[in-house]
Symmetry: C2
Subunit: 201 residues, 2 copies
């Protein structure tokens, strides 16, 4: 299925992502993170450029956070690039992974791991004439959450504890769509263990 056929009016959430460890042993780090995370609540497929994950929203965010954290805790400088998507017209296929319960499989293992992250996100509410108001509102929400970092061209900066940043991203992804405007895309770029972050908690 191509972009136009790939997403649906179903509540299934998709994430296409890549993990980029800036280290010679990048293969070991990527494979280790994918192995260490419990991915049994999502459908996943990896190709030569990225990995796609589909399932219930809670499990997509839980699994993504686990993969990023397991790559991060190797100490390598790691970048995460992801596009979250829901509600794209054209795909009416159901998915067996929507029948999973809501118990998070990764959170209990990872929630105590401390990790600073600097990231940038952008929201694209599709076919919504009022999309700029949605974006304004979510940037304000980031400020209330305490994870807002800085304004910039084409994105907004978020930083702090990785669990808080992920919690905001999931909340914003929920709030930036509506019954009328179901198709929402959110891009996220994270930088972890960067040499630029010396001294950050």
């Amino acid at each position: 299925m191509s972009q136009e056929l790939s997403c649906g009016t179903s509540p299934i959430v998709g994430l296409r992502f890549s993990i980029h460890p800036m280290a010679d042993n990048f293969i070991e780090i990527i494979k280790g993170a994918l192995r260490e995370a419990d991915t049994s609540n999502v459908w996943m497929h990896t190709d030569d450029v990225s990995t796609v994950m589909r399932g219930k929203q809670v499990h997509v965010f839980d699994t993504a956070r686990a993969i990023v954290l397991y790559a991060a805790k190797t100490g390598a400088h790691v970048a995460f690039n992801g596009t979250f998507s829901i509600g794209c017209p054209g795909d009416s296929a159901g998915d067996v992974f929507l029948k999973k319960d809501d118990v998070l499989l990764n959170d209990p293992q990872i929630r105590e791991i401390k990790q600073y992250v600097s990231s940038q996100f952008a929201l694209y509410p599709m076919n919504n004439p009022d999309y700029m108001s949605v974006i304004y509102r979510e940037v304000e929400r980031a400020k209330e959450y305490g994870v807002f970092n800085e304004s910039m061209h084409y994105a907004s900066g978020l930083h702090g504890d990785i669990h808080e940043v992920f919690a905001f991203l999931e909340d914003s992804f929920t709030n930036a769509r509506s019954e009328q405007y179901k198709h929402l895309v959110m891009t996220v770029n994270m930088s972890i263990n960067s040499p630029s972050h010396k001294g950050e908690a």
Copy 2:
């Protein structure tokens, strides 16, 4: 400026991107590529997560292609992640870089460099009720160009000679917007010198 204030009704094109060399000497590779490319036709700013470049469309694409190629020719496995944007409402600021002429500063130095690339792109024509048709049409254009690779969730695969892939991306970025629907976002992820590409020309 945040996402909502950052882009404009002017013809200025923006690209927020990162280069991720999967190698211990990633800093040297990134800095080398940024130094080797002629960036004098675009405004650029680098922060701890990504780099933003703004200018005329021809120069943004020419400079991005040069940076990617200079990082690639080190032989390292390099990923490029970029979001191209034009026409976002809210920013009416002009830009001195729009006064540059159309002479490409990088193309003469790089056009003979051979490089295979596997990539994935997605188009987000904002506030356009007919956006799915635009996407369908551009996927067909990729097939006609001969750079289409495969259909997938949330993106479309492109591959082949990097100059041809960039030419398609620039053409598609032009064709996916219109006088009525000026705000267009295009995400691009490239994988170069990947261990998964053994044997690709």
